[in-house]
Amino acid sequence: MPVTLTSLDDVKFTVDKEVAERSILIKNMIEDVGESDSPIPLPNVSSAVLKKVIEYCEHHRNDPVQVQDETDDPRKRSNDIEEWDMKFMTVDQEMLFEIILAANYLDIKPLLDVGCKTVANIIKGKTPEEIRKVFNIVNDFTPEEEAQIKKENEWAEDR
């Protein structure tokens, strides 16, 4: 049973209901509206991003629905991103953040997790200066403040 989604810039995408329902937002909308042919408007998502999101949902259409369980042991849970997802996430920063925001809006938790993990992996292991460079963040500390902070962290970073 196909479903039509309309993006911010009025581009229509037709997908299987099963694929569309990876998004809890869309799933709820379909339930509320009932069986109808009218397209579902997604005014917060541009076509380029929606295309990527649909690609993700298509690939993961058969995944078991994730249970909202935050009490799992982080040591047991794998922190690895699977290969397909990693390739999928090899996009420029702008697209990466757009995907994260779209996944949040559309309530697609696995995609949100993968996006956030990707950003986390970028941050991991970098010095503050490197982080600033990657994300174009301006350093607004005064030199005195910086020295003070560095001193506070001396013991932690001694390891």
Partner: protein
Amino acid sequence: MSKSKPVNLLSRLPTELAFVILYQIPYRSLTAMTRVDRYWRTLILQHDNSFWYRLCQKHGYLPSDPVLFSGHASGGHKVLIQLGEALQMRPGLTRALEQSSKNFEARISSSSSPSLDARIDKRINTWCRLFEISTILEAEWKVGKPTIKELRGHQDPVLCVKILPLWDRVVTGDRSGCLKIWCATTGACLRTFRQHRMGVSSLVFQKNILISGSWIQEAPYLKPQKIVDLGEQVSSMHLTERMELAFGTLSGRVKIISLKTVSSLGTFIGPAGTYCNAVSLSESRLEAAFGSQ
């Protein structure tokens, strides 16, 4: 989409999403993030009860309790335990912190970095601080190696060991009745006593009196040296601060005597066909474990 001017997209994320990302970053990178700019520093350090409490939970620095929350890392959940309570459950933490900071300060003052201020703020008054300290101490624990020492000298199997930390001594008794005293630091055997004619089954120590119990009905005191015939084969002992000695015997009895008055305080009989393996005496109760021959 062309980038005419580099834009800081990371900081534009809604805070709930920022926390989903931060939650997955290891501690060192979190520290790095607090040095990136004021926005990130405030964001990370401010959310103590939400973010840092959850991180403490995630890493097992708190006793496990069911977390009831909905949504993302920063929003809508209950703090189920107070910081003071959490610290009480980890009494070793302050000691470990004390030791670790001593080592750090010693290292800094001995190296040639006069600009480095070695004093560390040891107060744990936020979840953030608890997390920081727990993480650092865990790292130290993993890196440190235990020193294993062997005390060689006994010809027969060693049956009991007593460590006397204040005296820096280890006392051991073996199956042939030989008693040895070792220096705990060097591992050298300092004295050997062969007064027991049968195995030394147990050692107890209070104040400066060491008592060794043996299967051959004797219990020599070491300081001052004295042999007391307890009239029973001793298999286990317990000595209280008030110098009451409870000892279990191979005949299945537990006797209590007062060392001050050298008189018997009581005798208890255990199940038939057993001997007393372990005994413990306190203010109000005597506990004994019996095993079969």
